[in-house]
């Protein structure tokens, strides 16, 4: 571990001295990641139809199987059946468990957001009571924040908790609850006496708790999503997590980590889409040639791999920072809170960039499949439907955009950051934007775009510098896209003319060959 922490948001204070990349995982960690990948390819991917039809008992069985391999509590404490390993490793494992969206959500929630609140904020007794069944995969967890009339505006929740003798009595409806069908315990946000936002652990068998019918979703059909209704549902007083009125710390810190992890969840399906597009473009012949011989198809493959590279670079750089913060501050509840908050800006940047990269990658993959991509006989349509929600949950991308620039400006005002210093064209624009008087959401959103694009460019550049020619080629292919998005954002801030900087020429044929050689995104071992 390093002596000094690289502070949150300091990516706009010049180039950092070090930056973790996925290649830096130790050989032990890579072995664990391999296990997840092998498991997902052999146990999940051959069964997508059955999964999408929610075949009775299948998903809980798959989760239990993953649990037997130690995959369900990677970053939860060892004392409660977890492995006590880092969040970055947990995220990389999650990426490879996420080649299919439905599995991704089911596994992601039970191994992630349903445990992190308990791990960070639970008392020893609560952890001992509720964590082991989740870390072992015997039980499945769920996280219940949203309500019919309270989505993005989460604190407007109307579910209530009232103390009656030695019980909390809960009333209200929670909407969109992933894993509802097979969850054994729910982390439920409710307001004590209708005012104090708090977190509660509600076991499935609680009298007064009912699970409504499955939502009829566009995608992620194999994941369960349903309302839960609480009618005078009684739980023991000990099931209040952390403190009365402090549920927002539980909910939002779980969400910070959740956003970071959602980034991994969104590039998992993107990885599979690139693999599929690589194979299809080689096999499909038109005009007497493989599609992969056509320049415009090569450009797509290259662009997909480049976006993937950037997202990967941001995510695992961020995860390593989070781990460092937990090493430094973690252990106590206040320390855990501080660690989970430190990189909230980076977490939001990863969430927005990765989910939008996922959508672009899958759209291009579908385009490469031509008419066949538009049918359910081929695997891309499922990815296309599944991926759409990534930009909506764990904080919509709009909410994350509002948060990003606002949070950054607050950090600047607090004076906790070193002087800002641009190390790229985009960073320069971002810093200028941060010093502007931003007028309304559209400008805040534009400033956020510049911030997150600066983080993306820097993460990709630092990784490419470590990797030699192939990494550099991927970075160079991403830069024109990042510049264009930055220019678009800039034009929402000022009417000054803007000249795009000179870029390296991109050899898309070489990039497409790299994608074919790797049968997917380029891997650096």
């Amino acid at each position: 571990m390093s002596e000094t922490l690289i502070l949150g948001a300091s990516f706009l204070c010049g180039t950092p001295a070090r930056s973790f990349t996925p290649e830096d995982f130790s050989s032990d960690e890579k072995m664990m990641i391999d296990t997840a990948e092998q498991f997902c390819r052999a146990e999940i991917m051959p069964h997508l139809e059955a999964i999408d039809h929610q075949e009775e008992g299948l998903m809980p069985k798959l989760i239990a199987k993953a649990g037997e391999l130690g995959l369900c509590g990677i970053d939860s404490p060892e004392a409660y059946g977890g492995l006590g390993l880092g969040k970055n490793l947990a995220a990389r494992i999650l990426e490879f468990m996420s080649l299919n969206g439905s599995m991704s959500v089911t596994y992601g929630i039970t191994s992630g957001i349903s445990q992190v609140g308990l791990s960070l904020f639970g008392s020893d007794e609560q952890k001992a009571k509720f964590l082991p069944a989740l870390t072992s995969g015997e039980s499945i967890g769920a996280y219940a924040l949203s309500e019919p009339n309270s989505g993005s505006d989460a604190l407007s929740a109307t579910t209530t908790a009232v103390q009656k003798g030695d019980k909390w009595v809960l009333n209200g409806t929670k909407m969109w609850i992933s894993n509802a069908k097979w969850a054994d315990q729910f982390l439920v946000m409710a307001k004590i006496n209708g005012t104090d936002f708090s977190a509660f652990i509600v076991p499935r068998d609680t009298p007064g708790l009912t699970i409504a019918r499955e939502e009829h979703k566009m995608g992620l059909k194999g994941s369960s999503t349903a309302r839960i209704v609480l009618e005078d549902a009684e739980i023991p007083l000990d099931n209040l997590l952390y403190e009365a009125g402090k549920g927002h710390h539980v909910a939002f810190n779980a969400l910070n980590i959740g956003r970071f992890k959602l980034s991994s969840m969104s590039i998992g399906p993107a990885r599979n889409a690139i693999e599929l597009a690589a194979g299809y473009s080689r096999d499909r012949k038109q005009f007497g040639k493989s599609l992969s011989e056509f320049g415009l198809i090569q450009k797509k493959l290259g662009q997909m791999a480049a976006l993937f590279f950037v997202a990967e670079s941001m995510i695992y750089r961020t995860g390593a920072l989070i781990d460092e913060a937990f090493d430094l501050y973690g252990g106590t509840i206040d320390g855990n809170r501080k660690a989970a908050e430190e990189y909230a800006i980076e977490c939001s940047a990863c969430k927005v960039f990765s989910t939008e990269a996922e959508a672009l990658i899958i759209d291009d993959a579908l385009q490469i499949y031509g008419g066949y991509g538009f049918t359910e006989e081929f695997p891309i349509a499922r990815h296309y439907r599944d991926a759409r929600v990534s930009k909506i949950y764990e904080g919509t991308n709009e909410i994350n955009r509002i948060f990003l620039a606002d949070r950054f400006q607050r950090k600047l005002k607090a004076g906790s950051l070193s002087p800002l210093q641009a190390d790229s064209w985009i960073a320069d624009l971002a810093i200028k934007a941060l010093h502007m008087q931003l007028d309304g959401q559209i400008q805040v959103g534009a400033a956020s775009d510049l911030i997150l694009l600066a983080y993306a460019e820097q993460s990709s550049r630092l990784r490419a510098a470590k990797l030699g020619d192939e990494g550099q080629a991927l970075h160079n292919a991403a830069v024109p896209y990042l510049h264009l998005k930055a220019a678009e954002a800039w034009q929402l801030l000022t009417d000054e003319p803007l000249t795009l900087p000179k870029v390296e020429k991109v050899d898309y044929e070489a990039l497409a060959n790299m994608v074919h050689h790797n049968n997917g995104p380029v891997r650096f071992n």
């Binding site: 391999d34 296990t35 050689h517």
Partner: protein
């Protein structure tokens, strides 16, 4: 389980009273090979294969041998599994994986020499002379060189009985090995000590569980230098890609297919 014999009481690691009356040590040699599913290119000068950036794995047949040893241990038929690799420190990665699957300790015979099969057999014999296992369980071949020799040469050097291409292994009073041959199943009975080489159908290796990987960190991995490095008796002259296959052609009917086969003189 077998009774202790004189041979086992000679074993350096065995201590009276430690294991009451049974002791069964299995030694599994493993090789670090390029991921058999990765596409590799020959080096420009044809001297070998370009492994820059490649991923390395335990040779799949060796992984089957490790898996078999671990299953036998889980059944109670084996008391200790020692895995051995010959190579540079890079091979520690594969040894750690074998430990994570369930081997008890590992030995790395450290050398960067290019060895042929007789050389591998000679260096393994050195380890076996010191370790005195009852059974050596190893892959029938490595997916990089595809030689299918080291096991047989090693058995000959040791003067042990051998059963190659094992599809089923039972360790009892004797060793019973079933082999799948072109004409059916053949069952062999061998006396201890003996050497077994594994075929693909012996078992399906498990996923490496994460707690096992953590446990493996604290299992012993000992490095030894070979007493001498045997000079290679064979050397690779050239490595090249197979000639590209001519493009296929789609046929519309069985008749057309038959005609096409006849045309090529294949029927």
């Amino acid at each position: 389980m077998i009774r202790l014999t004189d041979r086992q009481s000679l074993d350096a690691t065995w201590q009276p009273g430690k294991l009451v009356d049974t002791f069964m040590k299995v030694l599994v040699p493993i090789k670090r090979v390029v991921d058999p599913y990765a596409k590799v290119r020959p080096l420009a000068d044809g001297s070998g294969v370009d492994t820059t950036g490649a991923k390395f794995e335990i040779n799949p047949f060796d992984e089957i041998a490790v898996e078999e040893a671990v299953r036998q241990k889980e059944k109670g038929a084996v008391t200790e599994i020692v895995v051995v690799s010959i190579g540079t420190s890079a091979s520690e990665e594969q040894l750690r994986k074998a430990l994570a699957i369930g081997a008890d300790r590992a030995i790395l015979v450290e050398t960067d020499a290019v060895l042929d099969s007789p050389g591998v057999a000679a260096l393994l014999k050195e380890v076996i002379d010191a370790e005195r296992p009852q059974v050596v369980l190893m892959g029938k071949q490595a997916t990089d060189d595809d030689n299918n020799q080291a096991g047989q040469m090693l058995a000959a050097k040791l003067g042990w009985g051998q059963a190659t291409f094992a599809a089923k292994v039972e360790l009892g009073a004797n060793v019973t090995v079933t082999r799948e041959t072109d004409t059916g199943e053949q069952t062999l009975s061998l006396a201890y000590p003996c050497l077994i080489t594994t075929d693909l159908r012996l078992n399906e290796p498990r996923y490496v569980a994460l707690p096992g990987i953590i446990k493996a960190r604290s299992k012993p991995l000992e490095k030894r230098a070979p007493s001498t490095v045997p000079a290679a008796k064979t050397r690779t002259v050239n490595v090249e890609l197979p000639a590209a296959r001519p493009a296929g052609r789609k046929v519309g009917s069985v008749e057309e297919l038959a005609a096409a086969i006849k045309e090529r003189g294949a029927l």
